[in-house]
Amino acid sequence: MITYLLRRLAGLIPMLLGITLVSFIVIHLAPGDPAQFMTSLNPKASEKARERFIKMYDLDKPIVEQYFLWLKKFVRFDFGDSFSQDRKPVLQKILERLPITIYLNVAALILIFIVAIPMGVLSAYYHNSILDRVVTVFVFVGFAVPSFWLALLCMYYFGVVLGVLPISGIYSYGFSELGLIGKMVDVIRHTLLPVILSVFGSLAALSRFTRNSMLDVLHEEYIEAAKARGIPERIIIFKHALRNALLPVITILGLSIPGLIGGSVIFETIFSIPGMGQLFYQSVMMRDYPVIMGILVIGAILTLVGNLLADIMYGMADPRIRYEKK
C-alpha cells in the first residue's frame, strides 16, 4: 500500500508540471494582454505608459522564459501578484473568495446527497411506478430549466412580492452588530435560494445514477438469496443492496473535490456572491495570467488528489480491489 501510494504521488509531479506548462501556453495564446486594458482607447495614456506596463509584467520576454519565471516562484508556493489594478497577491485574492465558495458548494453537495440518494433508491424499488415517473420528471425539470431564469423568478417572488427573503448578497447592512446566532441566520437566509436552486439543478445526475446502480444490484443473486432467507425487505434494501450500489458514488465524491473551489459565474453574478466563479471569469476576461494560473493549478492539484483519494477509498470499501502486486 505504501509503495503504491508513493508511486502514485511521484507520478503526480510530472503530470502537474505538464498541466501548468500547457495551461500557461494556452492562456497566453488568447489574443490581447493585460497592459491593453489600462491603456487601450484611453486618450489620457501616453505612449510610454503601455510600454511601462509591458515591462512591469515581463510581457516583453519570450513565453518560455515567462513560464520559467512563473515556475521559479511557484516551486516556492508563490503565485505572484495579480496583474489587475489592485495588484494583490494571487493567493490572497483566492483566499478572500474561497470561504463563501466552499460553504455554498459543501452545503449544496450535502443536500444533494441527502435528497438524491433516497430518491434514487425509491425510484429503483418502485421502478416504473407513478412515483418513479414523478421523481424522474421532477429531477429532469430541475436539470433542464435555465437556472438564472428560475433564480430571477424566485428572487422576485420571495424577495419583492412576499418580502421574506433577501434578494442577493451574503450579509445584511447591520451584519456586524448581530450576535453569533443572528449572524448564522443572516447568512443562511441570504444563501437559502442559491443553495436550494443549485441543489434542484443537480439532483438529476446523482439520483439517476443511484437508481440505475440500485436496479442492477437488486437483480443480483445474493439479493434473491437474502429474500429467500426471509430477511426483512427494509434491511435488504438499505443494508445489502444500497451499500453495494453506492460503491461508485465514491468516485463521484472524489471527482467533486475540485468542484468545491469552483463556482458558477451565472449564479454568483445573479446572487451577487463574490465567489471563485466570478474571480476566474474576470481574470480570464482581463488576461490576468497569474490569477488564472493560480486557480488552474489549485484546481489541478485538487483533481489529482481527489482521484488518488477515490482510488484509495475504493480499495478500502471494496475488498475485491487490491493495489499491491501479488
Binding site: 494582454d33 482607447l41 489620457k44 505612449e47 460553504y103 452545503a107 434578494i167 442577493s168 454568483e268
Partner: protein, 552 residues
Amino acid sequence: MNWLHLLFLLVILSSCGGDSSNLEKDMGPVDVGEVSNSVDRDKLGDLVVEGSIGDASNLIPILASDSVSHSIASLVYNGLLKYNKNLELVGDLAEKWEIASDEVGGSIITFYLRKNVRWHDGKLFTADDVVFTYNVIVDDKTPTAYDGDFLQIDHIDKIDDYTVKVYYEKPYAPALSSWTMYMLPKHLLDDIEITSSNLQRSPIGTGAFKFKEWKNGESINLSFNSKYFEGRPLLNGYIYRIIPDSTTMFLELLSEKIDFMSMSPIQFSKQTDNRRFRKQFSKYTYLSNNYTYIAYNTKNSLFSDKRVRQALTYATPKDEIIQGVLFGLGTKATGPYKPDTLWHNKEVKTYPYDLAKAKELLRKAGFVDEDGDGILEKGKKEFKFTIITNQGNSTRAKVAEILQERWGQLGIKVEIRVLEWATFLNEYIDKRNFDAVLLAWSIPLEPDLFDVWHSSKCEGKNLNFICYQNSDVDHLIEKGRSTLDEKIRKDTYFKIQEILAEDQPYTFLYVPMSLVGLNKRFEGVKPAPAGIMHNIIKWHVKENNQKYHFIP
C-alpha cells in the same frame, strides 16, 4: 469525508463575523461636524446606498482606470479644479488661478490653494502635496494611464505653502482640465513605492466622505467627513453595493434594499411605468458623456469616397434607432461633442433619413447594380462589408442589425461580427483590420480632439484607427489646443464640426440618456447637466423618513 465538510462549515460560519465595522447605534458621542446653520441640524442622518455593477479596483485614482474606482475617488478626494453642475471649470482645492505667458512663448498657471483644508487623517493640505502628486504621476515607476497631460509640463514650482506655479513650454489648452486630477497626500506616500501603499485599499483624501471599509465584491462604505471644507455632508454615509447583475440590482431597488441605481432604457421606460414605482422613487434623466458611432476605415477603398460615407449616413435611420433601441431615451449625435455643452455646433449639415438621396449619391460614386442580383457593384467589386462591435453590449448589436436591414435596402450586403473585447482590440482595432466599427467614445469635458482626429494619430495603436486625414482639421486641432482663449477655441471647434459633418468619417449615431432611479426619501436633489451627484453633500432625509440609523 462528512466530518471534514462539517468542519469547513463551522470554520466558514464563524469566520463570517470576522471583520466588524464599528457600528454606532446612537448619535450621542459622535462629532456631528460643522453645520452651516442650525436649521440643518434636524436634516442630519441616514445613508444613501448605491447599486454598482462592478467592484472598484484601486482607490489611488491615478492607478485605476475603471469608472467605479473613479466614482468612489470623487467622493473621497478633491482636485485643484472641478467641473460644476453646469460642466464649467471652477476651483476646488484651488481657490483661484491665473494664466500668464512668459517671454519665450510658454505659459504659466498659478494656483492659489485653499487654506485650512485637512486630509482625513488631520494633516494640512499644502502646495507640497500638489508638487508631489505631479511628481508621482510623471515618475517612470508609477504605472499610471493618466500621464499624457502631465508630460506637457516643463516644471512646477512651489512659491509658498499655498501657491504653486506650473510652467508649460507652450500654451496647452487641456492643461487646466488636467488639474481636476485628484490630489494625493505626500506625507503618506513619500517614502514608499506607490504600488505597495495601503492607500490603494484604504484611501485618505480631502473629500466630503471618509473611507471606512471595503468588503471585496460586496460593498464599499464611506462615512461623512465632519471637517469637509464645504461643510459636512448632511448624510451620515455613502454605501456602494456591488451587484453584478442589472436585473438583480433592479429587484433590490424595488425592495428598497438599495436607494439609487442607473437603469437600462427598458427598465426606465417600461418596467418602472407603474404607480407603485412612482410612489417610491424619483426618476431623473440627463445626457450621458458618450456618443455611439459607426466608423469607416478610410484605408478601405469602399469608403475612401466621401459620397459613399454621406450616402450611408443618409440611409441611417437615427430616429428609428433611438426609438427602437433606446426607447426614445437619447438624442441624435451630429459630431463629437455633447449637445448641451458650449462646444456643440448646432448648425452643421445634417443627414435626414432619405434612401433615395443615398441611392443617388452611391450612383454618382459609381456603385450600381449591374447584374441585377440586388447588390451594388463598382466594376466587378460587390459592395459588401462587415461591421464589427464588441461583445457584452446588446444595444450595439441591435443597432448593427437595424443598419444591416436598412443598408441592405440600398443594395449593400452587411455582415455583423460581435467580438470579445480583447480580441476586438488586439486583432481588429490595433491592426486596423476592419471595414466599419460600431463603438462609443466618452466625451471628455475638455474639447481637445487631438488623440482621435489628428492625422498623426493614425499609425501604431493610436486612437485615430480609421486613419482620418484632413489637413484643415489638423491645423484647427493644433490651433485649438494651443490657446487658452475660450472664444477662439469655440470658433475652432465649430469649424471642425462643420468639416466632420461634411466628410462623415463617422456616422455619428446618438448620445444616450443617463437614467437614474432614486428613492423618494432623499430631498435637496437638484438635477443639472452634470447629473445629480454634484450636490451630494446637500442631500438629506427628514428625520421621520430616515431609514438607516448607524454611521458606517
